[in-house]
């Protein structure tokens, strides 16, 4: 088994509350049947939901980001003024800022849901 554990990290980090539920859940005996574990209905469901979420959002933000240089380089549609001297190029750019903050917030909410499923799976497994 080539995988090593950083016992130190796990233990030291939870030293302020050693019986911290989640860190206790995440440690266990070495030999688990991982093939079986990833094929349980619960894990498959979680994995599918999570990957679907990650993939769709990744495609979305990559497209929004990639579109900017394409629009500014090959078209002039962002060159018009939107508010005063502020052009649509700036509005689009500020939109990317808003998108980053919004998606980070959405991710956190969504990930909290996945955390619960993970806890369930680990409870069942160990």
């Amino acid at each position: 088994m080539s995988v090593k554990i950083d016992e130190e990290v796990t233990f030291e980090s939870s030293s302020h509350d050693r019986n911290n539920e989640s860190s206790a859940l995440q440690e266990g005996p070495a030999a688990l049947d991982y093939e079986k574990l990833i094929n349980t209905p619960e894990f498959k469901k979680l994995s599918k939901r999570k990957n679907g979420f990650l993939l769709s959002y990744t495609i979305f933000f990559t497209a929004i980001y990639a579109l900017l240089p394409i629009l500014t380089s090959y078209t002039t549609i962002l060159e018009n003024r939107a508010i005063g001297m502020i052009t649509w190029t700036w509005i689009y750019s500020f939109g990317i800022f808003i998108m980053v903050w919004a998606l980070a917030t959405i991710y956190t909410k969504k990930a909290a849901g996945f955390d619960k499923d993970v806890d369930e799976i680990l409870k069942k497994t160990l």
Binding site: S2, V3, K4, I5, D6, E7, E8, V9, T10, E12, S13, S14, S22, S23, Q26, E27, G28, P29, A30, L32, Y34, E35, L37, I38, L46, S47, Y57, T58, T62, Y65, L68, P69, I70, T72, S73, Y74, L78, E79, I83, G84, M85, I86, T87, T89, W90, S93, F94, I96, F97, V100, W101, L103, A104, T105, Y107, T108, A111, D115, V118, L122
Partner: protein, 513 residues
Amino acid sequence: MDFISIAIFVGVIGLTLGVTYWAAKQTSTASDFYTAGGSLTGWQNGLAIAGDYLSAASFLGIAGAVALNGYDGFYYSLGFLAAYLVVLFLVAEPLRNLGKFTMADMIGSRFSAKKVRAAAALNTITIVLFYMIAQLVGAGALIKLLLGIDYWISVLIVGVMMTVYVLFGGMTATSWVQIIKAVLLMIGTIVIAFLVLLRTNFSFTSLFEKVSTATKHGESYLHSGVLYDNPLGLISVLLALFLGTAGLPHILMRFFTVKDAKTARSSVIYAVWIIGVFYFITMILGFGGAIFVGEEAIVAENAAGNMAAPMLAAVLGGNALESFVAAVAFATILAVVSGLVLTGASALAHDLYGEVFKKGKVTDKQQVTAARIAAISVAILSIILALGSEKLNVAFLVSLAFCVAAAANLPTILMTIYWKRFNTTGAIASMLTGLITSLVLVAISPSVMSPVEGAALITGNPIFPLANPGIVSIPAGFLAAYVGTILSSRGKEEVDYAEIKFKAETGYRELQN
């Protein structure tokens, strides 16, 4: 230097050394040294990520680039920020769940062949050295401008400080230097931005109006195209920035300083807010520079515009604010280079010495000793390289570092986590292809070759037309991962993907008996 400057500089140095003294007392194990024992909270690591990431190139460079080139200077900000979505969605949590101290650990958790780890360590060292030389040369020039100290003395001061932080205080000291710097940087930039907005009645439309007549570019200052006339060049840079961050070893290492994936996640959220607000402010600083300092005055001090922010501070807030901004720039440099020294040391001492040469059979004490020796070696090597590079134009090294990170590291990181079929050959092929294509293409690019004598390292017509090779080398890195994998069979020293998948998603770790 006046009294205020000296007081602020001594304050920064004193505070960071105090933190190092405190950190040194709690640094005894390898885990302490590399990861601060995984003890950082989400907001602490979030600030430290911002402190690690927002280099002097971001602060002074982007403010200057916006001041001189308008919208085109702002592209960097967008790329640097949007990159965190890649980090958050695809990399941070699985990385934390699979790895231990370094990026190579995470890749090594699936592919334990020595050559995989060696290739990952090679990439880390390459990126660290490029980034570091750019920072140190920039630091030397900046401190010379800001304080009037000779270049070589400036480089030595920064070099000695970074070595002291890392050597004695390891990751704990490095993290807190980065946290202090992030706080100072935010205060400094917010104050200047406030003063700029005060003079434009807190109206963005009036700020844009003023700046549209402030420079020789006129209204085109507010449009894309002042700096980037070649679309492919622009797309190449933006691609490298977007994908590079998630492959930068010194940023990835920060995720091991927290106790679990959940905290890694929350630290990215803090970082995204801080970094986003910061980049938004750099736009205001750039505009302020163009309006209140003026193009000619900025270029007269430094052709790249690096002095725009400190000069703006002087115009709006007088000597005291200028000194404060200079100190912030100094702290910024220190925080970034110490993170780099630590990361370079981890690749040498943990990945190469500990895992490749000693096959993981090192005691904790040996690890810490090796890490300290490695830190000194990395520091000395970079100081020597920086001292010899004063006259060279090394600004392109930062975007080259992002390019190598995106082309050589990211494909392997992503496929280790998400692709079942991925194997040892694919990983090595990708890491080396990404590295070599990036280096070779840069060596024959306008960044290194210029027909004007003395303008670049080599005199001659550039063979590759783009300054940043990302648009070629990043796809090459991904392609090599794919081709290398499908043309070979599974390596001997590979962990089942089922195990990687389960651990990456759940954070499960086996107890060692």
